[in-house]
């Protein structure tokens, strides 16, 4: 089972299955969010056919694309209610779309995708979910979740990080977790603490 890194610096295993589109269509993400946003970012819309036919395991806990949930809700509703179905958002989908289409208080978790290293859109989505939509449930980072960005992800409100399967050894994850405390006092506010440093501590010049 794939390993996950938790914000309390534990490493655990995940019993969730991430359902993705076929690899041939990765890493170019699909846009099923607002058309305007996709036009701006240059993403391509997901073919409706793919959304309608994407195969899914019949059992177990699944994290499915938001578009699949939206298109096939009737078929998936029971599994959602049983706490065995969650959705993941593409980087080009808006948090507003998620909030419109998923009853977040009942969702077992929400996952945001990092489609490729260097694509930082999910950081904004995570902060908005936490700070604007007051989502308090589990928030997962999936996709290109690289250890050198764990700190940023936790700061933006993710509490569970799922690196690609086999990407890191357990020892590497332990090393990454051990280094999470490197920056004790970040300058700016974020989802973990909205106060900038100058509101958190008394600051005085070193060489007064």
């Amino acid at each position: 089972m794939p390993e996950i890194v938790l914000s309390d610096r534990r490493i655990a295993t995940s019993d969730w299955t991430l359902v993705r589109y076929p690899a041939s269509n990765d890493p170019q993400p699909y846009a099923r969010g607002k058309a305007g946003l996709a036009r701006n970012t240059g993403d391509e819309a997901a073919p409706a056919e793919l959304v309608a036919t994407l195969p899914m395991p019949a059992h177990g806990k699944l994290i499915v694309p938001l578009a699949v949930w939206r298109a096939r809700r009737d078929a998936l509703q029971a599994r959602f209610e049983a706490g065995e179905l969650a959705v993941w958002l593409d980087a080009c989908e808006t948090v507003e779309t998620l909030v419109e289409s998923v009853h977040l208080a009942a969702a077992p978790l929400v996952a945001l995708d990092f489609p490729k290293a260097g694509d930082g859109r999910a950081y904004s989505s995570a902060r908005l979910l936490r700070e604007r939509f007051a989502y308090r449930g589990p928030l997962w980072a999936v996709g290109d979740v690289l250890r050198d960005y764990f700190f940023f992800m936790f700061r933006c409100g993710f509490d569970t990080l799922l690196p690609r399967d086999g990407r890191y050894t357990h020892a590497q994850l332990e090393d990454a977790v051990a280094k999470l405390g490197l920056f004790q006092n970040p300058y700016q506010g974020a989802a973990d603490d909205p106060r900038p440093l100058w509101r958190r501590v008394q600051r005085a010049p070193l060489h007064a």
Partner: protein
């Protein structure tokens, strides 16, 4: 300048440790090249034509002699004993080993310097008016705000992987010396009629392949909202900026695509939600940071007349000193003081390049004449900002001895020039040899003084690091496949400042050897048609590009696309 506290120091020390670990993993093969790349870039490490380059940040162009000596030391110890001041007020070392970079950064951290976000797809090191805090035309000292922004942007978790680089420039003066309108965000601080500090926010300027002047997004932003509003801009850009094509991913493309009204609406919708948030600036925090920028202990000089009279005598006796006074001295708000440019544009030496020995000599000048304080300029010179009027002659002597008294500030040979094809992996052509050739051809000071103010910019490629689009005369290295020669395109009429203009291309590209003659023809026409006291750029505005085109290419000159 800004005084680090224990938090600032711990932060940059931690950053060194983080990069040391990342470098170790890279060298051990644990961190693949494509994953290490963005990490090293955000720490200022490029891999250039010959070897890695480290770009050390000089936030808003302010540094002290201790820092200059540290740069000299690392350049000597880890590099070839020289470095380069860049067009964004930073300092570059060109011949490092990757394995040494953590040690270099550790040495620099001891003098409160770092290379955080001097490259990469993030908020870059912030640039400012090089006369900030001392210029008589300044209403608001922008440096405390630049420092507040530096801290806000440093390892900002949400904006650590933007679609592309993001550059801020700031000023608080009536004249824009920081090229605000060619930056992603330009911030102009001013005092409104009621005495409140406000910010004019320009967004979406940039050069490169698609030169665009920034549009005004906010005319009168209250200063307390600075971080909230910037956060709103960055959030919109982070979510909506293009990521599918590196050439279309700057905020200028989004701004052009949406237009001012739509972009403003998006930013304001975002801003409204965080307007009262905890990042709203307070008087206390501003006062804390402002205290660091208190003026040095000036001597109280009420009457400048005696010193001025003395200067007149010295000026009459030493024509070289007279030339230097005319070009390299800048007005100061403190009576009895002046700012002085130490020219890094010397014949036979690449613009902005200095050796370790020279850096130490400059540090000594700063200690003796300017309270140990220096500024780097976006025209790749250094400025001693706090020099007593009655010390100018002595300083001139010393600067001349050290080789930094070339009296060419703002003149043709004050060329702005990127490292170009000699070092840069992106360049189509070398820019330094051309800069040197032009310097040599126009070295005569009598001629240069007669030609007067000319901004001359040479970029080795379309990435436009030398801002050739906003030079009065701009030269661009172009790619001509299948030719052994290097080719260049000449453009005229660019201008920076609040009333910025983009340069127009004169005509088809020419090989390197022809460029000095083309410049000669352009300047000859200017001299023929100028009105008394009219600067080159003013003549250009009056007569337009066509006469220059005909002069260079003859009557067959055909119109070219508008911008280089």
């Amino acid at each position: 300048m800004y005084q680090y506290d224990a938090y600032d120091q711990a932060f940059i020390d931690a950053r060194v440790e983080q990069f040391r670990d990342q470098t170790r993993r890279y060298l051990a093969g644990e961190l693949p090249e494509d994953e290490f790349r963005p990490l090293r870039l955000q720490n200022g490490v490029y891999v250039e034509r010959h070897s890695p380059l480290l770009r050390v940040g000089i936030p808003y162009g302010l540094l002290n002699s201790e820092q200059l000596r540290a740069l000299a030391r690392v350049a000597r110890e880890y590099d070839q004993g020289w470095g380069h001041f860049s067009t964004r007020q930073n300092f570059q070392l060109n011949w490092l080993k990757i394995a040494d970079v953590p040690d270099v950064l550790a040495a620099l951290a001891k003098v409160r310097m770092h290379a955080i976000q001097t490259s990469g797809s993030c908020v870059r090191s912030i640039t400012a008016d090089h006369l900030a805090g001392i210029a008589p035309d300044e209403e608001i000292d922008p440096r405390p705000f630049a420092e507040i922004l530096r801290q806000w942007a440093a390892l900002h978790p949400e904006f650590s992987q933007l679609p592309r680089k993001f550059k801020f420039a700031v000023t608080g003066a009536k004249n824009d010396r920081a090229a605000l309108r060619v930056h992603d965000v330009g911030l102009a601080f001013y005092r409104d009629e009621g005495g409140e500090v406000k910010v004019r926010v320009f967004v979406g300027g940039g050069l490169g392949r698609t030169p665009v002047l920034a549009l005004t997004l906010h005319d009168a932003l209250p200063w307390r909202q600075l971080l909230n509003y910037c956060e709103a801009i960055l959030r919109v850009y982070n979510q909506q900026g293009r990521r599918d094509n590196a050439y279309k991913s700057r905020i200028k493309v989004l701004a052009q695509h949406l237009g001012a009204a739509k972009l403003r609406a998006l930013v304001e919708a975002e801003w409204e939600r965080i307007e009262d948030g905890p990042s709203t600036l307070t008087e206390e925090e501003l006062a804390r940071v402002c205290a660091c920028f208190a003026p040095p202990p000036y001597e109280k000089i009420v009457d400048e007349a005696p010193a001025l009279a003395c200067l007149e005598l010295q000026r009459a006796q030493h024509p070289a000193f007279a030339r230097w006074l005319e070009r390299c001295i800048h007005a100061h708000r403190q009576p009895g003081y002046r700012a002085v440019t130490l020219s890094l544009k010397r014949p036979g030496i690449a613009p902005g390049n200095v050796t370790s020995d020279e850096l130490e000599a400059i540090a000594a000048l700063a200690d003796t004449y300017s309270f140990g304080l220096l500024r780097s300029t976006h025209s790749q010179n250094l400025v001693l900002g706090e020099v007593r009027l009655d010390a100018l002659f002595e300083l001139w002597r010393a600067a001349e001895g050290a080789g930094f008294a070339t009296p060419n500030t703002g003149l043709l040979t004050d060329l702005i020039c990127c490292p170009g094809g000699d070092l840069c992996a992106l360049a189509n052509a070398r820019s330094v040899p051309l800069a040197l050739a032009i310097h040599e051809k126009f070295a005569d000071f009598e001629r240069q003084f007669d030609l007067g103010d000319i901004d001359f910019n040479i970029s080795g490629c379309i990435n436009s690091c030398s801002h050739h689009h906003v030079g009065h005369i701009g030269i661009l290295g172009v790619d001509k496949e299948g030719t052994a020669q290097e080719w260049y395109q000449v453009a005229l009429g660019g201008d920076q400042g609040f009333d910025a203009h983009l340069a127009e291309v004169v005509g088809r590209a020419a090989p390197a050897g022809d460029i000095p003659d083309i410049i000669e023809k352009i300047l000859a026409l200017y001299v023929e048609v100028r009105r008394p006291g009219e600067r080159f750029i003013d003549t250009f505005r009056r007569i337009g590009i066509d006469p220059f085109r005909r002069r260079v290419y003859g009557e067959k000159a055909r119109p070219e696309k508008k911008y280089a």
